[in-house]
C-alpha cells in the first residue's frame, strides 16, 4: 500500500460534506432569523433545496470515478451515487411539499430543514459504508433526526405518540444491530466487509456465532425498511408524522437501509448466499403478502400508503435476495420509481388534509374527478403506477426486479410477487374507483390553504417522471451506469 492510497480521498464523502455544509448554512440563517434582523425565514426551504441540488450535481459528477477511502470503510461507486440520487430526489420533493405545510405544524422551520438535510446525509452515508461501524453511525445519524421529525407537531397527541413509538422501537432495533455487529466481529475478527469476506473465504469464521449476528443484523435492518415481522411501527408512525416527513421517510429510509443491506450481504457474506438468500426470500414473501392483505382494509389514506409501502419493501427485497448485480440495479430502479410515485401520492394526501390534521380519510377522494379533474388524473397515474400497470414507472420497476429474480433461479419468488401485485391492484384501483365513480360527499373538497405552488410543482415533477420512467427506462439506468448527463452537462 503506497502513501497515495493512505491519503484521505475526500471525494468518497464529498456529497455528504456538501450536504453538511448546506445544513450548517440553513442553521446559521435561522439564527439571524431569530434575532429578528433579517426575514430569512422564507428563504430557508430554498436554501435547503439549493443544497440538495448542489449535492445531486456533485453526486452526478462523481459518477464513473469510483473511490474507496478511510482504509476501506467507505466506497463511492455507481450504486452509492445512484442511492444518493434516490435520497436526494426524496429530500428535494419533500422540501417542496414542506414549504406551506411545516409552518402550520411547527414554527421552528430552521430546525426542520437542518434536520432534513442531516437526515439525508446519514442516509447517503449508509449507501457508501463498507464497515459495520460506519453503517451504524449513519443509521443513527438519520434515525435520530427522524425521531425528532416524526414528533414535529408538538401539539398533536398522535405526532407525539408516533415519535415516541418510533424512538423506543428504533432504539431496540439499533441495539439489535450493534449486538449483531458485535457477534459478527466476534465470529470473524473484523467489522470491515472485505475482511469479513476474506475470513469467511478462508474458513476461519465461527459460523454459529456469525449466524446469530446475521440474524440480529437482519432484525435491525428489517425494522428500518419495515419488513414483516418488524413492521408494527410503520402504520402508526406514518400516520402520526407530518405528511412531508412521512413521504420522505417512506423513500429515504427504505433506500438507505436497503443499500446498506445490500453492501453487507453482497460484500461481506458472498460465500453464505445460499443461506441468507433464502432467509431474505422468505421475509420478502411474508412482507409483501401481509402488507397487501392488510392494506385492503385501511380507510385512512396514510395507513393505506403505509401498508402499501410495506408491500413495496417486499418487492424490493426480492431484488436483494437474488444478490446479483441485476437484482441490485433493479432494486435501485424500483426505489427511484417509488420515490416519484409515492411522493406524488403523498402530495395528494396533503391536498386532502384539513388544517393541522395530518391525515386524510379515503372517503375524501370520493368524486374527486368532478371537482378537480386534473388532480384525479394525476392521482390515477400514481395509483396505476404503484399497482404496476404499464406504461408507468412501477411496471418496469417490478419487471427489472423480477427479471433478476428469474435470472437468479428464483422464478417461484417472482411468481408470488406478481400474484401479490394483483392483490395490490385491488386497493389502488379502489382509490381510482372512489375518485371517478363515487358520488362526491360534502367532505370531499380541497381546502384552499393546502394548495401552494411548490406542491403543484411537486405533483407535476412526480407525474412527469412516473410516466417518463415507464416509457424510457434507460433515462435512469443510463444516468447511473454511464453518467451520460455528467459527460454532457458538467464535464
Amino acid at each position: 500500500m503506497n502513501s497515495a492510497a493512505l491519503a484521505l480521498n475526500l471525494n468518497a464523502v464529498l456529497p455528504e460534506l456538501v450536504m453538511v455544509v448546506a445544513a450548517a448554512i440553513v442553521m446559521l440563517l435561522d439564527i439571524f432569523n431569530r434575532r429578528g434582523r433579517a426575514p430569512t425565514k422564507a428563504w430557508l426551504p430554498w436554501v435547503a433545496l439549493a443544497g440538495v441540488l448542489v449535492t445531486g450535481a456533485v453526486s452526478i459528477w462523481l459518477l464513473g470515478q469510483p473511490v474507496t477511502s478511510f482504509q476501506g470503510m467507505a466506497i463511492h461507486d455507481e450504486r452509492a451515487q445512484a442511492l444518493n440520487l434516490v435520497v436526494l430526489t426524496g429530500a428535494a420533493l419533500s422540501i417542496l411539499l414542506s414549504v406551506r405545510y411545516i409552518p402550520t405544524v411547527n414554527h421552528q422551520t430552521g430546525e426542520y430543514y437542518t434536520l432534513l438535510l442531516l437526515v439525508s446525509t446519514g442516509m447517503m452515508a449508509m449507501g457508501s459504508a463498507t464497515d459495520l461501524m460506519v453503517v451504524f453511525l449513519a443509521l443513527e445519524t438519520f434515525s435520530l433526526g427522524l425521531y425528532i421529525l416524526a414528533g414535529l407537531n408538538r401539539k398533536s397527541l398522535r405526532s407525539n405518540e408516533a415519535a415516541m413509538k418510533y424512538f423506543l422501537l428504533g432504539a431496540f432495533a439499533s441495539a439489535f444491530f450493534v449486538y449483531g455487529a458485535a457477534f459478527v466481529y466476534g465470529a470473524t475478527g473484523s467489522t470491515r466487509f472485505d475482511l469479513i469476506a476474506v475470513t469467511l473465504f478462508d474458513g476461519k469464521a465461527d459460523l454459529p456465532l456469525l449466524y446469530i449476528g446475521i440474524t440480529m443484523l437482519i432484525a435491525g435492518f428489517g425494522f428500518k425498511v419495515s419488513l414483516v415481522p418488524f413492521h408494527m411501527w410503520t402504520p402508526d408512525v406514518y400516520q402520526g408524522s407530518p405528511t412531508p416527513v412521512t413521504a420522505f421517510m417512506s423513500i429515504g429510509t427504505k433506500a438507505a437501509a436497503f443499500a446498506a443491506f445490500y453492501r453487507f450481504f453482497a460484500f461481506a457474506l458472498p460465500t453464505e448466499q445460499a443461506t441468507w438468500g433464502w432467509a431474505l426470500a422468505i421475509l420478502a414473501v411474508l412482507t409483501m403478502t401481509l402488507g397487501n392483505l392488510v392494506a385492503l382494509r385501511q380507510s385512512s389514506l396514510k395507513r393505506l400508503l403505509a401498508y402499501s409501502s410495506i408491500a413495496h419493501a417486499g418487492y424490493i427485497l426480492v431484488g436483494l435476495a437474488t444478490a446479483t448485480p441485476a437484482g441490485i440495479d433493479g432494486a435501485l430502479y424500483y426505489l427511484i420509481s417509488y420515490a416519484f410515485m409515492n411522493m406524488g401520492a403523498f402530495a395528494v394526501v396533503i391536498l386532502l388534509e384539513r388544517q393541522g390534521e395530518m391525515d386524510a380519510e379515503g372517503d375524501r377522494l370520493k368524486g374527486l374527478s368532478r371537482r378537480h379533474p386534473q388532480l384525479a388524473l394525476i392521482m390515477s397515474i400514481f395509483m396505476f403506477s404503484l399497482a404496476g400497470v404499464p406504461p408507468f414507472a412501477g411496471f418496469f420497476a417490478k419487471f427489472f426486479v423480477f427479471a433478476a429474480a428469474v435470472e437468479g433461479g428464483w422464478s417461484w419468488l417472482a411468481a408470488i410477487a406478481m400474484l401479490n401485485s394483483a392483490i395490490g391492484a385491488w386497493y389502488y384501483l379502489r382509490i381510482v374507483v372512489d375518485m371517478y365513480f363515487a358520488e362526491p360527499t360534502a367532505d370531499a373538497q380541497i381546502e384552499p390553504q393546502q394548495v401552494s405552488l411548490p406542491l403543484t410543482i411537486t405533483l407535476g415533477i412526480a407525474a412527469v417522471f412516473t410516466i417518463a420512467l415507464g416509457v424510457l427506462p434507460s433515462l435512469w439506468t443510463g444516468l447511473v451506469q454511464t453518467g451520460v448527463v455528467s459527460t454532457l452537462a458538467l464535464r
Binding site: 441485476a326 404499464p390 406504461p391 428469474v406 417472482a414 406478481m418 384501483l429 365513480f437 434507460s474
Partner: protein
C-alpha cells in the same frame, strides 16, 4: 408505385395517441368530437397503405421497424405486420371510427375524456397487433386495460362500476403470471423477439410452465370457458361504442396472443395441452350458445354469442393446421365485424326505446323495415349463412378442426345450429308478429336515418365482400400462416430429436435392469 411512408407502423400506432392529447386540450365539445373522428379516420386511411403497399405472397414481417428500447435486457421496440396481423390492424382502424361516430351521435356526458380514452384504446390495440417484442407486446396488452376500465366505469349501465372493476382485476390478475413467464422465456431463449422465439427450441419443462401462464392470460382475455364470467358483465354494462370495441377488437387480443405467442413459441406444450384447450373451446361454443338462447336482454344475448364465437376461433387456433389457423384469422375479423355490427344495431335500438328486453319488442318489420332488414343481414352474418362472411370463416375452421380431431368438428357443427336458433329466435321476437306495444309502431319508432346508415352500411358491404371473395383475404393470410406452421413443424421435430437420446437411455436402463 404506391405511396410509401417511412415509420408507417409507428405513425399508425401513435396517431390516435397524438389525437388524444389534442382532444384533451381542444376547446369546446363540438371540436373535441370532430377532432376525435378526424383522427380515427386519418388513422384508417393511413392504415390502408398497409393494404396498397403489401408485398403479395411475402410470408414474413413487413414494414418492420426496429430500435433498441432498453439495452441491458435486450428489450427492443420492434413493430411489424404479416398476414396474420394485417387484418386485425385494419379491423381496429376500421371499427374505431364507427364507434367514435356512434358516440358523437349518442354520448353527451363528458365527451372530451371519453374521446381521449377511445383514442388511447386504439393506440393500445394497434400496438398489441404490431408489437414484435414480448415486452412491448405486454406493455400494450396491459395498457389497454386502463382506457377500457374507465369507459365501462364512467359511461356504462347500471352496474357499471362492478363490471369495470371485475374486468380490470380479472384481466390484470390473469396476466400477472405472464410477466414471470416472459422472463423465464427470455432467460431460457435469450431474446424477447417474437419472430426469433418462434424458431427457438426450449426445454419442455420451460415450455409447459410458460405455456400455462401465457394461456391463463389469454384465456381470460379471449375469453375461454371457464374464464369468461367477466365478459357478460363488461359487455352488458359497457356503453355501445365500448361494446363494439370490446367485442370487435379487444377480445381478439387474447386469441391473437394464443396464435402469435402461446401456440408457436411453445409447440410441444401446446401439443400436449391442445386437446384440453379444444375441449374448453367446444364447451364455450355450446355453453355460450345455450346461455344466449335463454337471454331476455338482447345485449346479453350478443355477449354470450361472443363467447360461443370465440370458441370457434380458438378451435381453429388450437388445431394448428393451415385451414384451422387461416380460418381463425379470418373469423377473428368476421367476428369483429359481425358482433360489432350486432352491438351497433342493439345500441341504435336502445337509443330509441331505452330498453333491450326482447319482450318489449315485436312487429318491428312493419314499423322500421330498413332497420329490421339490416338487422337480419347482420344476424345472418353472425349465424354463418353461406354467402356472408361468417360462413367462410366457420367452414374453414371446421375443416381444420376435422383434420385435427373429427369429434371437435362434429360438436362445433352443433354450435352452428344453436347459433342460428338463438339469433332467429331473437329476430322472431323482435321483428315478427303483431305490434303489441304502441311504442313500437310507426309513429313512435323512427327508422334509421342517413347518419346511422353511414355506420351500418360499410359493415354490411364488408360482410358480402368477405363472403363472396374470401380469397382477397386468404391470399394475404395464407403465406404467413403456412410459414409459421412450417417453422413450428421444424421446431417440433427438433424437439423430438432432442428427446430421443434420453429416451434411448431410459430404454437401455430398463433393458439392463431386466
Amino acid at each position: 408505385m404506391a405511396l410509401s411512408i417511412p415509420y408507417l407502423l409507428t405513425i399508425i400506432t401513435f396517431l390516435p395517441l397524438l389525437g388524444a392529447a389534442v382532444v384533451m386540450f381542444a376547446p369546446g365539445d363540438g371540436t373535441k368530437k370532430w377532432l376525435a373522428l378526424a383522427t380515427t379516420l386519418v388513422t384508417f386511411v393511413v392504415s390502408l397503405l398497409l393494404w396498397t403497399n403489401w408485398q403479395q405472397g411475402e410470408a414474413g414481417m413487413q414494414f418492420v421497424e426496429d430500435a433498441v428500447w432498453f439495452a441491458p435486457l435486450g428489450i427492443r421496440y420492434t413493430l411489424g405486420v404479416d398476414g396474420i396481423s394485417l387484418f386485425l390492424v385494419l379491423l381496429t382502424t376500421f371499427l374505431t371510427p364507427i364507434a367514435v361516430y356512434f358516440s358523437i351521435l349518442y354520448v353527451d356526458k363528458r365527451i372530451g375524456p371519453y374521446m381521449a380514452l377511445m383514442l388511447l384504446l386504439e393506440t393500445a390495440m394497434i400496438g398489441v397487433f404490431l408489437a414484435l417484442d414480448l415486452v412491448l407486446f405486454f406493455v400494450f396488452f396491459e395498457a389497454s386495460l386502463i382506457p377500457m376500465y374507465f369507459l365501462i366505469g364512467e359511461w356504462g349501465g347500471q352496474k357499471r362500476i362492478y363490471a369495470a372493476v371485475k374486468f380490470f382485476l380479472y384481466t390484470f390478475a390473469g396476466s400477472a403470471l405472464m410477466v414471470v413467464a416472459i422472463l423465464i422465456v427470455y432467460f431460457s431463449a435469450g431474446t424477447f423477439d417474437i419472430v426469433a422465439l418462434q424458431s427457438t427450441p426450449m426445454p419442455v419443462a420451460v415450455q409447459t410452465w410458460a405455456f400455462l401462464a401465457f394461456s391463463l392470460a389469454f384465456a381470460v382475455k379471449t375469453p375461454l370457458f371457464p374464464f369468461h364470467t367477466w365478459l357478460p358483465d363488461a359487455h352488458v354494462q359497457a356503453p355501445t361504442a365500448g361494446s363494439i370495441i370490446l367485442a370487435g377488437v379487444l377480445l381478439k387480443m387474447g386469441a391473437y396472443g394464443f396464435l402469435r405467442l402461446a401456440m408457436p413459441i411453445f409447440p410441444q406444450a401446446a401439443q400436449q395441452f391442445g386437446p384440453l384447450l379444444a375441449t374448453l373451446a367446444i364447451v364455450g361454443i355450446l355453453y355460450g350458445a345455450l346461455v344466449a338462447l335463454m337471454q331476455k336482454d338482447l345485449k346479453a344475448l350478443v355477449a354470450y354469442s361472443s363467447v360461443a364465437h370465440l370458441g370457434y376461433v380458438m378451435l381453429g387456433v388450437i388445431a394448428m393446421n393451415a385451414q384451422g389457423v387461416s380460418g381463425s384469422v379470418l373469423q377473428m375479423v368476421n367476428h369483429g365485424l359481425s358482433t360489432g355490427a350486432l352491438f351497433l344495431m342493439v345500441g341504435l335500438l336502445y337509443e330509441r326505446r331505452h330498453t333491450r328486453m326482447l319482450d318489449d319488442f315485436g312487429g318491428l318489420w312493419a314499423s322500421v323495415p330498413v332497420y329490421t332488414g339490416l338487422f337480419l343481414v347482420v344476424a345472418m352474418s353472425s349465424a354463418g349463412l353461406p354467402g356472408l362472411n361468417g360462413f367462410v370463416g366457420e367452414f374453414t375452421i371446421m375443416l381444420g378442426a376435422y383434420n385435427y380431431m373429427p369429434i371437435f368438428a362434429v360438436l362445433a357443427a352443433a354450435g352452428v345450429i344453436l347459433a342460428a336458433w338463438y339469433l332467429l329466435t331473437a329476430f322472431r321476437k323482435m321483428a315478427q308478429g303483431e305490434i303489441t306495444n304502441p311504442a313500437n309502431d310507426k309513429h313512435h319508432l323512427k327508422d334509421l336515418n342517413f347518419k346511422e346508415l353511414v355506420m351500418v352500411v360499410p359493415l354490411v358491404i364488408l360482410f358480402f365482400v368477405i363472403g363472396l371473395f374470401p380469397n382477397l383475404f386468404f391470399d394475404k393470410i395464407n403465406p404467413s400462416v403456412e410459414a409459421m406452421l412450417e417453422t413450428r413443424t421444424v421446431l417440433l421435430q427438433q424437439g423430438t430429436a432432442a428427446q430421443m437420446p434420453s429416451l434411448e437411455l431410459a430404454e437401455n436402463v430398463v433393458t439392463e435392469a431386466k
